[in-house]
């Protein structure tokens, strides 16, 4: 299991260090630390552990090369790391741990910290170091992750110190049963005057297209994010136009099958928040759960069939002699004319030896950004079934460099008000048997947003 956890700033100074096991570090350093003395070396505190701390700093944070793997092995000690802005989180172990679990834990740790004090920065970590130690104590015991749901943690660990001093016995046992219980993500006794819920279907559509317009790969990865403000312990059921469900239901009436069959979508795979009863989904394909209070990600899914590609990019690059390139790019919007795409940005890479660029575009604004080696073309809004074009002349400096320009793909960013996968929310029913509000009393909002993921066309 995890032997220790360290948080470093960009200079490699330790901000947080928590050691769970003695085995880490005893050998790691002897062979690995060749930097004579860092600012904190030579101190008495767990000399061997210091060595592990330093080994990571020297070999990863201060490494000259780009990091080649998120798992580094230094003298039989393994270091897992993730980086958030300029903060490094490293988990250290000498055992054959579950590697996927360690990374999941590190991400979770980031989520928990962000939920408590916002952005993960050096300043915020220093400001909250006592809180972080307290959280670590709770969510990682002897290297085994424990309950890490912020909803539950916030009931007894707060930024203002610990709550439990003046709790009644009932409150205390409620906390412990929640932390260890089956529904660890929701506390009892929540009350709202207005029961309300928001569903966001957020999709990112990914595309890799050949210069000839052939789709090399395309998929949508989507998320259903729910914000719930519901009283009590509401039992929810979520329905969407999942092909398997629709076909199963439509068995009786063949007519309906053909009608609704068109609108249903094939979901390649989906994963759910831990509140969803997975065995029920496996057997009946129904999505039922008791939601956490507030915002959470209900599900993630992936589709690859019948994706609506909101934009098509048609590139044309012509080399005119050794010192000139002519680029023409056409974009076509491919959705209902009544809808509007927003925040459209096309990024056309230019060679490193570009000396000057002249651009002409029909719509929006285009600029050559030398620091990014790209022409960036921005359009604020664009309706469906439209077309726009940019042309550019790129002057090149003559070079002796034999190496050809790699021609990175043209990438695109945009936002559209529909789900490119075709996913539709059919219902979200709420039942709370103990309290007197019914499904009809709940105010529900549904929103669809499609964004570009990695949307690239080779040229």
């Amino acid at each position: 299991m995890i032997g220790g956890l360290f948080i470093y700033n960009h200079k490699g100074e330790v901000l947080i260090s928590r050691v769970y096991r003695d085995d880490i570090g005893s050998q790691a350093a002897d062979s690995a630390v060749f930097s004579s003395s860092g600012p904190f070396l030579g101190e008495r505190l767990g000399g061997s552990v210091r060595n592990a701390v330093d080994a990571f700093r020297v070999n990863v944070i201060h490494a000259r090369q780009q990091v080649r793997s998120p798992v580094t092995n230094i003298a039989r000690t393994s270091f897992f790391h993730v980086k958030r802005s300029n903060i490094w989180l490293a988990a250290v172990t000498k055992q054959n741990v579950n590697a996927a679990m360690v990374f999941e834990f590190l991400y979770k740790m980031c989520d928990v910290m962000a939920a408590y004090f916002g952005k993960i920065s050096e300043e915020n970590i220093k400001n909250n170091f006592v809180l972080i130690y307290e959280l670590l104590d709770e969510i990682l015991d002897f290297g085994y992750p424990q309950n890490s749901e912020t909803g539950a943690l916030k009931t007894f660990i707060t930024q203002q110190g610990i709550k439990s001093q003046h709790q009644t016995k009932e409150e205390q046992s409620q906390i412990t049963s929640q932390v260890t219980g089956q529904i660890g993500w929701r506390r009892e006794g929540i009350k709202y005057r207005r029961n309300e819920l928001f569903l966001d279907v957020l999709e990112s559509v990914n595309l890799l297209m050949s210069p000839q317009g052939q789709v090399l790969s395309a998929h949508v990865s989507g998320r259903v994010v729910m914000k719930s403000y519901l009283s009590g312990m509401p039992e929810c059921k979520f329905g969407m136009n999942d092909k398997i469900v629709i076909e199963k239901q439509g068995k009786g009436t063949a007519d309906e099958t053909s009608k609704s069959g068109k609108q249903s979508i094939a979901i390649d795979d989906c994963t759910f928040h831990q509140c969803v009863r997975l065995s029920k989904f496996d057997s009946e394909r129904s999505i039922s759960f008791i939601p956490p209070d507030g915002e959470f990600e209900l599900m993630r899914y992936r589709t690859t069939k019948d994706i609506i590609l909101p934009f098509r990019v048609i590139p044309l690059v012509r080399e005119v002699g050794r010192t000139k390139l002519e680029v023409k790019v056409v974009i076509k919007s491919n959705f209902k004319p009544s809808l509007l795409a927003q925040k459209i940005e096309v990024r056309i890479p230019t060679p490193l030896n570009t000396s000057g660029v002249q651009v002409i575009c029909m719509k929006g604004k285009a600029k050559y950004k030398a620091s990014e080696n790209a022409i960036v073309w921005k359009i604020k809004r664009m309706a469906g079934m439209k077309e726009s074009q940019i042309s550019a002349e790129i002057e090149l400096l003559p070079t002796n460099d034999k190496k050809k320009w790699a021609r990175p793909p043209i990438s695109m960013n945009f936002e559209v008000p529909f789900a490119p996968s075709g996913l539709k929310v059919r219902y979200l029913k709420v039942f709370e048997p103990k309290l007197n509000y019914s499904d009809h009393d709940v105010i529900k909002w549904v929103r669809y947003i499609g964004r570009s993921g990695i949307y690239e066309t080779r040229c």
Partner: protein
């Protein structure tokens, strides 16, 4: 609240000031001071001097202050064990607190204070907490048992905590169950033989129920534990699989991977005709693909695992090629792994797409990635025959780019393509020759030279080309030198008239001017071959070469099966099995595992034999590898040797049949079993080598570490022909006792290193001492008497030999055949007394008195020797001889 101010105080005299503040009457001030102390501790300053002052703050009802003090305690208790005792009382009291959060906090912290003295006080509170009414306390106590076991395993067993922990598996609270499973799994790991987890259908059912209810982390613990279970039949396997499959939709990737592990393992038990088997295969693909949309670090872990899964069951992902296409913004480690999997999935059906992608990648920026992409094109050609032509033309296009490293990599892979499809693509040689000057890497130069030598008859100016390399012969790397030597000899055999001078030149460079024994020996062999029998030389040097196999980089099946059981863990990321357990349980140590460092990750995936020259030269069966070739390797072995002094032992098995000394799993497919014999004065080690790998094994050599009796191989290990997969050879290795001596523990421990073309492997074994009993070990009677008296009584050792219903005659003759000689025989009060002597190879005499009572199957053995440490082993030899 801005705690960052605590980080900034760096002035002198700080400790003194802190001390004053810690002893302040004001609670707030105390808390502030403790915070400062913790901040100093975090950045690595030594604040251990404040120990008593901090511990004094522990007696408080302020929970926040208490937690801070605990944090300090966990860090420094070890350096101040005596003072840590001061804290015990508070802990014990806190374990009785009405607030379950405080009870749990106390037991959790106590377990983290790794001081022996404290552990004794921990037992009682822990026992209570394990049976606490509150599940939060119980789940914390469960983990605490694992902590305690880590400090003092014996104590945990004596106190019966293991049984309590086992009971917690039936707890009503799922989180308690999960933590108990985690703790038991960890403890079981250090007792591989014990049946701690005792998984049976009932307990499995409990785990599967808890699986649906516990936290995501608990689900991981339970799934990892389930993976160690072996269902009793296919029906049980199927029913477990059915209950595990829902986990594939969990948002936590680790839960998914652990579920995949269970399914992959249990699938082995299902019949392939079963409908369910097909359903399960289909269910596995989508979650694996979904893992690729996780964060990059997790993608990397997933890809390393998919690499294993694809090798084990290629059918799962065969239609999913596209998802492994590299994205421009992927981190480099994701790119390289995706590329590996693409090659594994390449088939006739998708080869066109794959090639188009690879060609695209070959123009990227990252040099490593580009090289790998070029290599991948070559591997596609070898794997999918129909694509070979397209691959070759793609490679030619890449050579036209003139990008130096692309050209070199392309030439290396084209050489392999020639080896796979001889006489098919040689038309491209001309293009390759144009790039001769730009090659600066040894591997590429060697490949080019091989091509020129191999096809010398079709290249008009082959002699000129090879001659151009000869100028800087001594500056070349060994790989290139060897290749050049072979290449020119080939050229000479093909065009003898024009190249006499050239071959003379290279032979003299290799034999006279070079210090490299490999090069010199090869030079001499060619020279002699050419001068004695040119026809034979032709047969040897120009012999037809075996075609190279399709998949040279597959993981050995035994290793692969082992790694499948480690899906999701570090072992699956490194593609190396973990070093398991305490040293005594492992019979061998694979030194390869030491180098787990980034770069060497792929070293396990069997590369082709080094250099083309090697294979080329060894291939003809007539060209046996001269023993002296092993010389440099031999010396390398002994250097490595000192590293292995910690190697464990194999439990002594004296039975005549050979015992397995080195299992195939530990030695990349090489299995060694053996035994020791002594016949007419000569000792030998009878070995049986079995190749359980996919590739041919050659170049065997053996060495012993220094040992107690100077055992050493008297001749090199003679394996005459290369050992093909699934072949076994029996070898008798004569041993001498004139090697260097070092006392071993145990005395009869022998550490052995065996080398082949793949790697060096180490194992250790115990030899029976009777192989060292010499033939002239009979002492005369007077001498015996005098010596017996002379050896002090402290040196006498007595042993019981049970269940030995032989009479004195039979015993005597049986022992004599193993060089234990009866000097005299007496009958005292109905008991037969045998006086015996034996001598060890190093001249140590051992005198024995054996008392046999007729009708009593046990006899008593008294041994006297000037070196009493051998007695135990002599006794064992007696036992072995008498009972077989």
């Amino acid at each position: 609240m801005t705690d960052s101010k605590y980080f900034t105080t760096t002035k002198k005299g700080e400790i003194f000031e802190l001390k004053a503040e810690l002893n302040s009457d004001k609670k707030e001030k105390k808390k502030e001071a403790v915070k400062k102390v913790i901040a100093s501790m975090t950045v690595g300053k030594d604040v251990s001097a404040l120990f008593p002052d901090v511990v004094n703050c522990m007696q408080t009802d302020n929970l926040e202050l208490k937690k801070l003090v605990y944090l300090y305690l966990m860090n420094y208790a070890k350096s101040q064990p005596d003072m840590a005792i001061m804290a015990v009382n508070t802990f014990v009291k806190d374990c009785e607190d009405p607030n379950p959060l405080i009870r749990a906090l106390a037991v959790r912290t106590m377990g983290c204070i790794r001081v022996d003295k404290i552990t004794e006080y921990l037992c009682e509170p822990l026992r209570k907490c394990l049976k606490d009414e509150d599940p939060y306390v119980r789940k914390t106590a469960a983990v605490c048992v694992a902590k305690l076991h880590d400090i003092n395993a014996q104590l945990v067993e004596d106190q019966g905590f293991l049984d309590t922990l086992k009971d917690l598996i039936s707890d009503s609270n799922p989180m308690v169950v999960a933590n108990a499973v985690a703790a038991l799994s960890e403890i079981a790991e250090s007792h591989p033989s014990s049946n701690l987890l005792d998984l049976n259908p009932q307990s499995i059912n409990k785990l599967l129920t808890a699986l649906n209810e516990c936290t995501e982390w608990g689900q991981i613990f339970i799934l990892d534990c389930l993976a160690n279970y072996t269902p009793k039949d296919d029906r049980e396997a199927q029913s477990i699989c059915e209950r595990v499959t829902p986990r594939l939709s969990h948002a936590n990737s680790a839960v998914v991977l652990s579920a995949v592990k269970v399914l992959m393992k249990f699938m082995e038990m299902l019949s392939k005709d079963l409908d369910y088997y097909g359903t399960l295969l289909k269910k596995l693909a989508p979650p694996l693909v979904t893992l690729l949309s996780a964060e990059p670090e997790l993608q990397y872990v997933a890809l390393r695992n998919i690499n294993l899964i694809v090798q084990k069951r290629p059918e799962i992902l065969k239609h999913e090629m596209k998802v492994f296409f590299v994205k421009y913004n992927d981190p480099i480690y994701v790119k390289l792994e995706k590329l590996d999997i693409m090659i594994r999935l390449a088939s006739q059906a998708n080869i066109a797409q794959v090639l188009a992608e690879l060609k695209e990648y070959a123009t990227e920026v990252d040099v490593d990635f580009v090289r790998k992409a070029v290599r991948a094109i070559g591997r596609c050609a070898i794997k999918v025959e129909q694509s070979a032509e397209r691959c070759v033309s793609t490679l030619l296009d890449l050579i036209q780019t003139k990008v130096n490293y692309v050209v070199q990599e392309a030439i290396v892979v084209i050489k392999d393509i020639f080896r796979k499809y001889p006489n098919k693509y040689e038309s491209v040689i001309a293009t390759l020759c144009e790039n001769l000057d730009s090659l600066d890497e040894p591997e590429a130069r060697a490949a080019m030279i091989w091509i020129v030598g191999e096809y010398a008859e079709r290249i008009d100016n082959a002699d000129e080309l090879l001659e151009s390399f000869l100028e800087g012969f001594h500056d070349e790397s060994t790989q290139v030198q060897l290749q050049l030597l072979t290449g020119i000899v080939k050229l000479f055999l093909k065009k003898p008239t024009e190249t006499q001078e050239l071959v003379q030149q290279v032979l003299s460079l290799a034999t006279q001017d070079s210090d490299n024994p490999d090069l010199r020996d090869r030079g001499y062999i060619y020279w002699r071959l050419l001068s004695t029998d040119p026809v034979a030389a032709k047969e040897v040097v120009l012999a037809e070469k075996p075609l190279i196999s399709e998949e040279t980089d597959l993981i050995e099946p035994t290793l692969l099966d082992e790694l499948i059981c480690y899906i999701g863990t570090l072992a699956s990321v490194y593609h190396k099995p973990p070093m398991s357990g305490p040293p005594l349980t492992t019979s061998s140590v694979q030194m390869g595992a030491v180098d787990l460092l980034g770069g060497g990750l792929d070293s396990l995936m069997g590369d082709e034999p080094e250099g083309i020259g090697g294979t080329n030269f060894v291939a003809p069966p007539t060209a046996a590898v001269p023993a002296s070739l092993g010389a440099p390797i031999g010396s390398g072995l002994s250097d490595l040797f000192d590293l292995t002094s910690g190697v464990g032992t194999l439990s002594g098995s004296y039975v005549a049949p050979k015992a397995v000394w080195l299992p195939a799993m530990k030695a990349k497919g090489l299995e060694i079993s053996g035994t020791f014999t002594r016949q007419v004065g000569s000792i030998s080690m009878d070995l049986q080598l079995t190749n359980k790998a996919l590739q041919v094994m050659t170049d065997f050599a053996i060495q012993f570490n220094r040992n107690s009796f100077g055992l050493a191989p008297a001749a090199p290990l003679q394996v005459h022909a290369p050992l093909s997969p699934n072949q076994t050879v029996e070898i008798s290795l004569p041993l001498s006792t004139v090697g260097s001596v070092m006392k071993m523990e145990p005395l009869n421990n022998l550490q052995v290193a065996v080398k082949n073309n793949i790697d060096v492997f180490y194992f250790s074994t115990l030899y029976p001492l009777h192989i060292l009993f010499v033939e002239d070990g009979k002492m005369d009677r007077q001498m015996f008497l005098a010596t017996w008296k002379d050896i002090p009584n402290e040196n006498e050792a007595q042993f019981q030999i049970r269940d030995c219903p032989l009479n004195a005659e039979a015993v005597s003759s049986k022992l004599q055949s193993s060089n234990i000689f009866t000097v005299a025989k007496r009958n005292v009060e109905g008991q037969d007394m045998l006086y015996q002597s034996l001598k060890l190879t190093n001249g140590i005499w051992v005198l024995a008195e054996l008392r046999i009572q007729p009708g009593n199957p046990s006899c008593t053995l008294s041994l006297k020797c000037r070196a009493p440490e051998v007695s135990q082993h002599v006794y064992q030899a007696y036992e072995t001889i008498l009972k077989n």
